[in-house]
Symmetry: C2
Subunit: 310 residues, 2 copies
């Protein structure tokens, strides 16, 4: 059973109430709590030693990643983060310097985005460190960027460069908060998410939620230097394109807009964010499925991308 199948099973028949705008299945939950002009966003995410980070990683980077993952999900809704609580599960006899370093990393990233750390708890997890972050934020009422709004003919965009995140980017990425809010303020974003499971798998989430398909142009997919380097590691290494399609934890934005605005969006982006690459990688189709197109023709992409339970 994959993580997604498990989630689908567990989220059937969940308790609900009339504050819920968008429940499980998008990057954040969206709630109407009576804030004039705003909806509330709620997200939780955890990192586990040996799974999401190795024991020898500097604790400041672990803290950065733990909070950054949640911030990236707020970005994916075009939202603004407000406050977080931290659950720190530690083995007995844990290294105090590690716990302090972790909070140093959390605080540094929180301060950069004006997020308050307002509490949390410490508990015992005997075998390994686990850090769970719960984050609230907000988005202008009616303007949350969901996964379900992609339409046939939309252009598909992705920020940054993809693949090979495991070599370091997964610990040091910058959540695309400013970029996402700018996009939503300037252009009609039909759908958006942040890449955590790999381009192929995450694009499928948009396609499924929106009831559409997509064609990707392989030559347009931005491949990271880390993915190219990793491909040279040996005969069994993943080719760069496969890495860009299936490696997890890029934490870049994937979004769709009407194709009519694609060129003006690219121009405006280059002027506003000259240091962040933006690529138009394909289009949304009425025909279901995910197609890769290159000079030799087209082929269906069946790879579901990285899943945490694989």
């Amino acid at each position: 059973m994959t993580e997604f199948e498990l989630i689908a099973l567990l989220t059937r028949g969940l308790a609900t109430n009339n504050t819920v705008v968008t429940g499980p299945g998008d990057d954040c939950a969206v709630l109407d709590l009576g804030i004039p002009d705003r909806w509330l966003l709620l997200k939780t995410d955890a990192v586990v030693e040996g799974i999401h980070f190795q024991a020898e990683v500097a604790p400041e980077r672990v803290g950065h990643k733990a909070l950054g993952r949640c911030l990236s999900d707020i970005a994916a809704m075009a939202g603004t983060p407000t406050a977080a609580v931290i659950t720190l599960a530690l083995p007995r006899g844990f290294d105090l310097a590690f716990a302090q370093g972790l909070y140093t990393g959390i605080n540094a990233l929180a301060s950069r985005h004006n997020v308050a750390i307002v509490g949390g708890e410490t508990t015992t997890n005997p075998e390994r460190i686990l850090v769970s972050v719960a984050l609230i934020g907000w988005v202008t009422r009616g303007q949350a960027a969901l996964r379900s709004g992609a339409r046939a003919g939309d252009a598909i965009f992705v920020t940054g460069e993809l693949g090979g995140s495991i070599s370091g980017q997964h610990l040091d990425f910058s959540p695309r908060l400013e970029e996402a809010r700018w996009l939503a303020a300037q252009f009609p974003i039909h759908s958006m998410l942040d890449l955590s499971d790999g381009l192929a798998g995450d694009l499928r989430h948009i396609l499924t939620a929106s009831g559409v398909g997509a064609e990707l142009l392989t030559t347009a997919i931005p491949i990271s230097r880390a993915a190219r380097l990793a491909a040279k590691a040996g005969a069994s290494a993943k080719p760069p394109l496969a890495a860009a399609l299936t490696d997890g934890e890029d934490f870049e934005l994937l979004f769709t807009v009407p194709s009519a605005v694609a060129v003006s969006l690219l121009d405006a982006w280059k002027a506003r964010f000259p240091d962040v690459r933006l690529s138009c990688i394909g289009k949304i189709t009425a025909r279901p499925g995910l197609i890769l197109r290159d000079r030799r023709g087209e082929r269906p992409l069946t790879d579901h991308g990285y899943t945490h339970f694989a």
Copy 2:
């Protein structure tokens, strides 16, 4: 180092912003997000297999406890819970029926209190199950029941019966949400919290936060049947009074009110909640420290109660 010393160390110099009304150190964080007439409450809490529940416990009860602990903290602020997200960390090859049973328990309790379960995530914790819940709620603006408002002369009250929770109550308790809101609506609650670390330790949290002391009348402390039974288990068993003072996870309300309203509060309580015991157990003093008074006189109580890192 105790859990409390660790938390004090880690919560120094946390990132903050102008939404924070009450940060770390109370039962919930209190935030002003611009909801007219209301403040937002935010809380997170985790239960870990082998620490907070044993592997053989029915998963429905584990789910009940995981959400119930957070609900009890919302109650301690006299708040109303709204929505929760669940982080479920599972070993590989976990029992699917356990995960489903856990959600059954969570959903049943959530439905009873009109709480929406709006998302969460599953991740891997190889050695044991960990369930982390993040919960938001609200309280009438300006009326959050904090730990810091106790005043000399206040009467100290506690709901229910204390001690011996480990025999079952810690899995099956009813969060005192309705009771707490009724109290705050009817009476001037100077301070309140929910008992999670034991009466002696938790009362100290109120005393420290409020800069006061307290005298408890030992004969007035309500001792549970479970604590009395446990005391008969053998020569090394904890005496019932010690159990009521120091056993953790009672999840009852501890609060203080001006002594002038103590009698009318008791009368009104009996009429409104005839099935829930309410006991006046002592008074707040200007003199610092915690004193136990019985027929033989008074003695200082130095026991800090159960701490999770003990």
